[in-house]
């Protein structure tokens, strides 16, 4: 059996935890993070990989037959980005198929770039998505158009705020405020017969559905602290959005959401 030197094992541990932190930050579920790290560890030649996951950090240990290396990394949550999760997972599968040395793995991880869509395309698509939700709830065409305007305007504001690195709670509250203000156009001189649908559908771009689903999935699979953490995060985002809606409604003096 060929032994791994301490230095080499440190490099391996660093590469694995870098991959794990990227997956945690960009919104992968805990089971996927654990599995990917363990498979990368096996492919890079350590005996086992043990990890402790909490919402804001990862502690990870690699074991070989006579030594262990442990390291910790903080994780700062970023907007969900599935293309990065996909790239890390693809790297892991490639590692299993052919032997790649640690330096190359580290290089590959550093070079992973998010695949951003054109921002105006995203603005348009999110607008039309929320308008579709309004249609599915039975809105008339005036409410459909107003929902489209409100949520694409809100998405534009959200992108601008995210660009200037505001914290996500503030971004959600302000975006909900803007969406509700624009959507309240449907109340003006009764142009729409379903104004409340426009109001409620235009803020659907802010539903933190993915953190909620992830929190349930984590809890079901036995990662209870991660489940609670994500649950709290999602609840806070929902609360922030509601505050934005309520503030806008009290300014415009609209009753009954």
């Amino acid at each position: 059996m060929n032994t791994i030197s301490y230095d080499e094992q440190t490099h391996i541990t660093r590469a694995i935890i870098k991959a794990a932190v990227m997956m945690l930050e960009f919104g992968a579920e805990s089971k996927l993070i654990e599995q990917t790290s363990q498979r990368m560890g096996a492919a890079l030649g350590v005996d086992s990989v043990e990890m402790s996951l909490i919402p804001s950090a990862i502690v990870l240990t690699t074991l070989t037959h006579n030594q262990s290396v442990t390291t910790t990394r903080m994780a700062h949550h970023k907007p969900i980005n599935m293309s990065i999760v996909f790239d890390v997972q693809r790297l892991c599968i490639e590692l299993e198929k052919k032997k790649v040395d640690v330096q190359t793995v580290m290089e590959r991880l550093k070079n992973i770039q998010p695949n951003y869509y054109n921002r105006w395309l995203v603005v348009f698509m999110v607008g039309i998505s929320c308008a579709s939700f309004a249609y599915l709830r039975g809105a008339d065409w005036v409410a459909f158009v107003i929902t489209f305007l409100a949520s694409s305007g809100a998405m534009f504001v959200r992108q601008e705020l995210a660009k200037h690195k505001f914290i996500s709670l503030l971004v959600f509250a302000i975006t909900a405020f803007v969406a509700t203000i624009i959507a309240s156009l449907s109340y003006v001189s009764n142009i729409s017969s379903t104004p409340s649908i426009a109001l409620s559908a235009s803020v659907l771009l802010l539903v933190p559905g993915f953190p909620f689903i992830n929190s349930f999935l984590d809890a079901v699979k036995g990662y209870l602290s991660m489940g609670w953490g994500r649950w709290l995060q999602a609840t806070l985002l929902t609360l922030a959005t509601s505050m934005g809606i309520i503030f806008a409604m009290s300014i415009l003096n609209i009753k009954g959401w």
């Binding site: 919104g27 992968a28 579920e29 089971k31 996927l32 599995q35 498979r39 969900i80 980005n81 599935m82 293309s83 990065i84 999760v85 996909f86 997972q89 693809r90 599968i93 998010p114 695949n115 951003y116 869509y117 395309l121 995203v122 698509m125 999110v126 039309i128 998505s129 929320c130 579709s132 939700f133 249609y135 599915l136 409620s200 559908a201 803020v203 659907l204 771009l205 539903v207 559905g209 993915f210 909620f212 689903i213 349930f216 999935l217 079901v220 699979k221 929902t238 609360l239 959005t241 509601s242 505050m243 809606i245 309520i246 959401w257």
Partner: protein, 156 residues
């Protein structure tokens, strides 16, 4: 009869659009977007069909997300792509966003305008609805992967 078919086709179309739109917000890779559209349409239309059979919404949501979770396992093994990439956008049309916001808004209303039985009822009804639908979605998604977890085997 034709009207019913048209209704289903339109629902499928208008639920595929949000799946793609939110897939873009979550930066799903380009080649997976068409599967997201298909998944969103399947999820929403199957739930609609089950609701038309007078099934309660929680059970209908559970079965719809079980269906999409199973299909996503098949896709993910076929194209070697992690399963969340498909499921994350496909379940978007099922998420009970309005219920969750209504619950939170009635909670804040209770604080600012005083507690009334209507507000308490609205908070509890909408909160329970949103939690049970969310639970149904995630349990439906989790069941296919729990099948693979038994021997700690990864899906792909």
């Amino acid at each position: 009869m034709n009207e019913i078919i048209l209704h289903y086709v339109l629902s499928a179309l208008f639920s595929a659009i949000p799946a793609v739109g939110f897939g873009m917000v979550f930066n799903v890779p380009k080649h997976a977007l068409k599967f997201c559209a298909l998944g969103g349409a399947i999820a929403y239309t199957s739930r609609l069909a089950l609701l038309d059979l007078h099934m309660p919404i929680e059970l209908a949501t559970f079965l719809a997300s079980l269906l999409i979770g199973t299909i996503a396992v098949y896709w993910s093994r076929k194209y070697i792509v992690p399963r969340p990439i498909y499921t994350v956008a496909s379940i978007i049309p099922l998420i009970p966003g309005t219920f969750a916001f209504t619950a939170m808004i009635s909670l804040v209303d209770m604080n600012s305008h005083g507690v009334t039985p209507e507000l308490i009822a609205s908070f509890i009804e909408n909160g329970l609805k949103s939690i049970s639908i969310l639970g149904a979605i995630s349990f439906g998604l989790a069941v296919p992967s729990l099948y693979f977890i038994r021997y700690n085997r990864p899906i792909i």
